[in-house]
């Protein structure tokens, strides 16, 4: 039985190569470029300890005498620091690599939490309906009417005030994942609910129910796989949003501390020196952030055009 199924169904790789997704990817130069840029950034960020010439978290490498040195194409640059140094004398190239890693980590972590909450609640709201649906969607409505950034800022501020700055900075990564994850789950919940409503009256769901399967099993094993493509599409946009939210929180001083900076806190720490002419401390991490977010957004645009799920508007 098992051997016959493996011979009849083609391998995953072959299915991918025959798919429309791959076909349109081969023809779309922008998508290829964006994926390449994104993968390069991810690899560079996660191999930061190997690529970076100095360890920015190690105080021994920091020399205050060599602070605010410009990048290599400007007169007065130091050859040890290719992109110059920040106000504390840390090598900008190293700290950007480490900072990108922190930003990506928080972005992915937050989106995973959002997806977990949003998909569960969306499935429950769509499949169970009734009071559960009304309660969850009202909650989502209320939360969405306040812009996710506002929710994140308020929660961040309150958590920081209750727990104290020292505790907050110690667990900043975890805190930011929690805050951004909690602030944005309604996006997933709405999308999943809309596709569940479209799926749940189909015959295969009726068949599963007649067979006597429990609703939990039907929800997660039967309905969920059929709602994956819109989830996939909004995930790209959500990752970009989460990275921007993290940068915004860090910029306001509610995110990563300067000793352990993300791209947002690098921009913040450089902003204090922009009036004195040291633009590179803030604008180079800013450019990295924009390239990262832009490549994800363009990939998301392409995915949406290709998969064209009926995204829930409103």
């Amino acid at each position: 039985m098992t051997t016959s199924t493996t011979t009849t169904t083609p391998s995953r790789w072959k299915r991918l190569r025959d798919s429309y997704l791959w076909y349109s990817f081969k023809r779309d130069r922008t998508a290829q470029l964006c994926l390449a840029v994104f993968i390069c950034l991810v690899i560079a960020a996660f191999s930061a300890p190997m690529l970076a010439p100095t360890d920015p978290y190690d105080l021994r490498h920091i020399d205050i005498m060599s602070s605010e040195l410009p990048p290599f194409w400007i007169d007065g640059a130091d050859e040890r620091y290719s992109l110059g140094t920040d106000a504390q004398g840390r090598d900008l190239w190293s700290i950007i690599l480490y900072g990108t890693r922190v930003s990506l980590l928080i972005g992915f972590g937050a989106v995973m939490l959002q997806a977990l909450l949003g998909v569960t609640f969306g499935l429950m709201a769509g499949y169970l309906g009734g009071r559960v649906d009304a309660f969850l969607m009202r909650l989502a409505d209320i939360q969405l009417s306040f812009s996710t950034l506002m929710v994140a800022i308020v929660v961040g501020a309150v958590v920081k005030a209750t727990m104290g700055s020292a505790f907050y900075s110690q667990y900043a990564v975890l805190m930011l994942i929690l805050i951004i994850g909690l602030a944005e789950w309604p996006q997933y919940a709405r999308t999943v609910r809309a596709s569940v409503l479209a799926e749940k009256n189909k015959e295969y769901v009726d068949a599963a129910r007649v067979m006597g399967l429990r609703s939990k099993r039907i929800m997660f094993r039967h309905v969920l796989p059929n709602t994956l493509s819109p989830i996939f599409v909004i995930s790209t946009v959500q990752i970009a949003n989460a990275i921007i939210s993290e940068a915004a929180l860090s910029f306001l001083g509610l995110g990563m501390p300067e000793t352990h900076p993300s791209l947002g806190s690098l921009i913040k720490s450089g902003f204090d020196y922009i009036q004195s002419g040291s633009w590179w401390i803030t604008l180079i991490p800013g450019a990295v952030l924009v390239v990262l977010v832009l490549s994800i957004n363009l990939l998301g645009d392409w995915l949406r055009d290709v998969m064209n799920p009926r995204l829930y508007k409103g």
Binding site: S145, F146, I267, L283, G286, L289
Partner: protein, 349 residues
């Protein structure tokens, strides 16, 4: 119609209730008011007496009822930092933020409608493609980074020496790419005109407007691309519909078809999204005001967080919550009145 109205109002009141409970819970759990009031040397028995007198030993519900009663009467307590009623502090900072939001909204409306409509009518023209490209870049640049870029370009100035300075052409090209940087990038300026109450306006003098330009442009930069894309998408959908084809077939001039027949139906969803987004802009004012040191509510809120000024934080949350709820309710009502297909009484789908 009345049922719809009542339903929306009930919804708004419910949301305000939830916000007030959350705000009160924050106030209840953060800091000890007695510690803020008395010195180190006051003995515990004395503190307990003060606590009893202030009603801090009452149950959560009793305390909440008192908080809600005071809040409805406009009494939100005293700001620790400013040493005056918190509502007074908010009222002093509100006009600056409202003017900023107003200016940004003006920029969005003036630019998004023509660009969105044009790129829907001619989706393949190079200009439309250019605007679509710019708009996705605009979405990808966080608002505080746009603000920093604007400061660098227009307030500090950039000098470019890409071309040889010696030749006349080189110097001219360099001058073309460089900027002088004489725009103000800090605060509201001193040329404010007093209007009424706490309201000093930036809009009456040239210097005031100059101070407003950079913050307003950066605040608009986050919403403008969204609106352009939204108007474009809706307009393209409307242009496919039968009634537009019919109007065209009747020989009505294209301009009339686009701007009278099609635009009307395009604007329906734009109103709903737009109203909500204008509320959302309040969140982004926190970022813009921080960068430009614009003395509005956003900057005040961030200062309140840094000073742990809890009454002010709570008041800000309540007032901003009220702004959100009022805009959302008004938008819902307008949409209900304007769009005859909305089911006014039935359950939402």
């Amino acid at each position: 119609m009345i049922a719809f109205l009542i339903k929306r109002l009930m919804h708004a009141i419910l949301v305000m209730f939830v916000i007030s409970v959350l705000a009160f819970a924050i106030q209840d759990n953060l800091g000890d008011p007695v510690q803020q009031m008395v010195g180190q040397s006051v003995p515990e028995s004395e503190r307990e007496a003060i606590r009893e007198r202030l009603g801090l030993n009452d149950s959560f519900l009793v305390q909440y009822a008192r908080f809600a009663k005071n809040a409805v009467q406009g009494d939100f307590g005293y700001s620790y930092f400013y040493r005056e009623p918190a509502l007074e502090v908010i009222a002093r900072h509100l006009p600056a933020t409202l003017e900023l939001v107003f200016a940004a909204t003006l920029i969005i409306v003036v630019f998004s409608v023509p660009i969105g409509v044009y790129s829907a009518i001619k989706p393949r023209s190079p200009i439309s493609r250019f605007f679509m490209g710019v708009s996705i870049i605009g979405i990808s640049i966080p608002v505080f980074l746009t603000a920093i870029l604007l400061i660098q370009i227009f307030a500090i100035g950039i000098t470019i020496t890409l071309f040889p300075q010696g030749t006349g052409w080189g110097a001219w090209l360099n001058g073309l790419l460089s900027t002088e940087g004489n725009m103000p990038s800090f605060g509201r300026g001193y040329d404010l005109v007093h209007v009424v109450g706490h309201w000093d306006t930036n809009l009456a003098t040239w210097d005031g407007v100059k101070h407003l330009v950079l913050p307003a442009v950066s605040l608009a930069s986050i919403m403008l691309p969204l609106f352009i894309r939204l108007i474009r998408a809706e307009m393209m959908e409307v242009l496919q519909s039968d009634y537009v084809k019919y109007a065209r077939a009747k020989g009505i001039s294209m301009r009339r078809v686009y701007f009278v027949h099609a635009l009307k139906n395009t604007m329906l969803p734009v109103i709903t999204v737009g109203g909500v987004q204008i509320g959302t802009m309040v969140a982004y004012t926190i970022l813009t005001e921080t960068v430009f040191q614009w003395p509005g509510m956003g900057l005040m809120f961030l200062d309140a967080i840094n000073h742990a000024d809890i009454p002010l934080i709570v008041t800000y949350l309540m007032i901003v919550g009220l702004i959100f709820v009022v805009t959302n309710t008004i938008v819902d009502l307008i949409y209900g009145f304007v769009n005859p297909t909305v089911k006014l009484t039935g359950k939402p789908a």
